[in-house]
Symmetry: C2
């Protein structure tokens, strides 16, 4: 047995559900299906109730079981009826089984809950003609059917390996927080390559944008035109006009390419094991990281909505910092409880005392205005002079510290922050001292782990490599 | 009389030589010509001796008189005979007139000196067929003839005004130190536009590259192809394949455009008056300029050679600083006596403690090498992480101060310095503290004036504007 085969055999044990887990899942699935049928069938517009997702396909990873029940409505029922039916009856079903439910997603109506310790979702969809999809989840049943029609026992094992690999490398999940690989995309990738190792061999040679087509009908050039911003393009076999990999960011795809290379070169079980990171104690902060943190409270909201806002705000702050002259080495965000932490590493937490202002070329009409205004300004430090065809001048800055500047921008609306977070940001704590940041972060276990990872800064696949260096 | 006419009338008094000056110049010119004829005519290869330059054309600016005598050799005499004849007999002529001589230029053989307080040059050239030029100054006699054939009393006045304007704005002179407008170019510009005001009106609307043609035979597109890097193109009427304005830098041309706009908008005599800048006392250094100076000794050399080296070195240091991560706001050089000062203004005199290193894209073969090497380096501060398709990492810097770094680069030959200045640079003083710089610069009057100008930082034409703000 080669080293690779040994590792895969070991990994298979990590990702294959145990027999007790299988029975527990199937018992809950059967009971939930039957309870849903009882509750929904016969209601106006409801035409079917089915099990979908990884349980229906038998592709879930050990310990990650999740039962999805889909309630199918006839298109004429309309969105409102679908929504009201799901949101009123879904919780009742879960409660009737002694479970609890906690989230009603706003973007698409579904109910999330737990029954006997297993995550369950009750989702409403329309049973439409092929291609005449109404809601975002109307294709799901066809996805299930497609995967079932293609799968073999070997592929099933390899799908679980690939999902486990993605989890171990921090790449699993299409949610906005992760921007990684969905379950369905993982299944299609393994199916299209005929196996886990074949997929990794191929992925290790990808360039971005990458293109994989299972239908054999889509040309690469057409796909690139159709999805110009996608890092990875995988036309949905159920609907080739849709990119299954739309949620995958360039960074996550690059991390998969890197992880594939690293794993194939030196296979190791660690790539299948999500790290247990110890919370930051403070002493990991060696040397001279110039970090500043922004901590604010948020109200409970569907994660994809909240994370859309968080990422938009983080990018907005970064862009504003760069525009002002800061060099932003990196930025990251964490959510823990009702608190969000944005963490930025800069080359320096303060700007130089003087600012270089680039004026117009001398041949522009406003060149003389620029010269005249500069000369009369109190904060002029030098200039204007001519260099090449342009005017330049140096001005004294009023504020140089990042925290003062950020406060000012937020107060004046001069930084792109999600509208929903503006109030939170106005109240935010802005921490720039090492001791201040560490003391504050100590109060939140989730942030301590996040800070530890941030300080180390290595991508997850590279941390696996580090252990073997 | 309009304001413009008043100013021009006043300026004319500044630039027109007085009668006593005219007689003095003519007397020296006649005596020098006759002495040169006596000494050179009859020597092997010598065919003629003439007066050239601004005295021959009667276009010199008051107080800037300079008598140029050209000794014409037949082409068959050869460069060596020309050189040896000029360098041996030229000084003898000047000495015979009770004058003194001080420089023998290496690039082209000529003798510079002073007779009765007037600068004189004795230059050797070849009398060739038109277009079959051998040395760089063989066209000069034809230039003189051309200007004489075109000039009128009004143009003569306007040429003097334009030269005075260039001098008052720091733009006169084709030497490498200035990179401005030669006397011949100034004459052609006025002739081609029919006058000083007409020229300024046109210049105030120029875009760079600018193109002026007196021959009417050169098309703009052809000129741009022929002189792709020129800021200003003026085909020589004596030889249209040569650009008379080749020495004019983009910055100097832009300053002329700006000065023309400023002067026409608000005419003032100051534009014709070179400033008398008071030396820096120290208190002009307000606020927080982050300056560093490099002072080194140089041996006496023809200015164009020395200044070529100085500028090359200054640019080399700037480029190296930028490459290392410094932001160079501006750089300038001064020579005073046998000392040269390079002065740089940076956003900061030290680099951030950590350095962002941009690694390869993950799909490159060396991506794993980069990751592996980074992980094992002692100066790793964070990473490598993936952002987009590339790897990044943060490293601790060993040196952060500009003076230590520059010393190191000079020592290791890691900065582009003119070969002839390497030894001087190794011995250079590198001054970074405000008090250190001011104390050192106090010792050299030329540097004190230069520093004062540098701190103010306004281009000369803009300083004229400042007085009127």
């Amino acid at each position: 047995m080669t080293r690779l085969e040994e590792v895969l055999a070991e990994a298979a044990k990590l990702v294959e559900p145990t027999e007790p887990e299988r029975s527990r899942v199937s018992e809950v699935a059967v009971k939930l299906l039957s309870a849903c049928r009882q509750e929904f069938l016969g209601r106006e517009g409801v035409v079917d109730v089915t099990i979908e997702g990884s349980v229906a396909k038998d592709t879930w990873v050990r310990g990650r079981e999740e039962v999805d029940v889909f309630v199918h409505f006839t298109p004429s029922a309309g969105r409102e009826r679908l929504e009201s039916t799901i949101l009123s009856l879904g919780p009742r079903v879960i409660a009737g089984m002694g479970g609890r439910h906690w989230l009603r997603y706003a973007s698409h109506p579904y109910v999330e809950g737990a029954v006997e310790g297993i995550r369950v979702n009750i989702v409403g969809c329309f049973k439409t003609e092929h291609g005449r999809w109404i809601s975002a989840v109307d294709r799901t049943h066809h996805h299930t059917e497609f995967v079932r029609s293609q799968i073999t026992p070997q592929l099933r094992r390899d799908i679980r390996l690939f999902k486990g690999f993605l989890m171990g490398c921090g790449l699993y999940g299409a949610e906005i927080r992760v921007e990684g690989f969905s379950g369905y995309l993982s299944e299609l990738l393994v199916i299209s390559h005929g196996g886990f190792v074949e997929l990794l061999k191929s992925a290790s040679k990808w360039r971005i944008p990458a293109f994989v087509d299972l239908t054999g009908k889509v040309r690469r050039e057409d796909a690139l035109r159709l999805f110009p911003n996608a890092a990875l393009i995988f036309p949905d076999p159920v609907d080739p006009s849709r990119n299954v990999a739309a949620a995958v960011s360039k960074t996550r795809l690059a991390e998969l390419i890197l992880a594939s290379k690293l794993f194939l070169r030196d296979p190791s079980i660690e790539y299948f094991m999500p790290e247990a990171v110890k919370p930051c104690q403070g002493e990991e902060w060696r040397g001279t990281h110039e970090l500043f943190g922004v901590i604010f409270r948020v109200e409970e909201r569907p994660p994809d909505i909240l994370w859309g806002e968080i990422k938009h705000t983080m990018k907005g702050v970064s862009r504003r910092l760069v525009k002002e002259g800061f060099q932003v080495y990196r930025a990251a965000a964490a959510q823990s409880g009702d608190e969000v932490l944005l963490l930025f590493e800069l080359s320096s937490l303060s700007l130089p005392p003087l600012e270089l202002r680039i004026g117009p070329p001398v041949w522009m009409d406003n060149a003389i205005d620029f010269a005249r205004k500069t000369l009369t300004r109190e904060d002029r430090a030098a200039g204007p002079w001519v260099e090449g065809e342009r005017l330049y001048a140096l001005f004294r800055r009023k504020h140089v510290n990042v925290d003062e500047l950020l406060r000012e921008w937020i107060g004046r609306g001069e930084v792109a922050i999600s509208r929903e977070l503006v109030d939170s940001l106005r109240e935010a704590e802005i921490l720039t001292s090492r001791s201040g940041l560490i003391d504050r972060i100590r109060q939140n276990e989730g942030f301590r782990i996040f800070l530890k990872n941030f300080l180390d800064g290595a991508a997850t696949p590279i941390r696996h490599l580090a252990k073997r260096c």
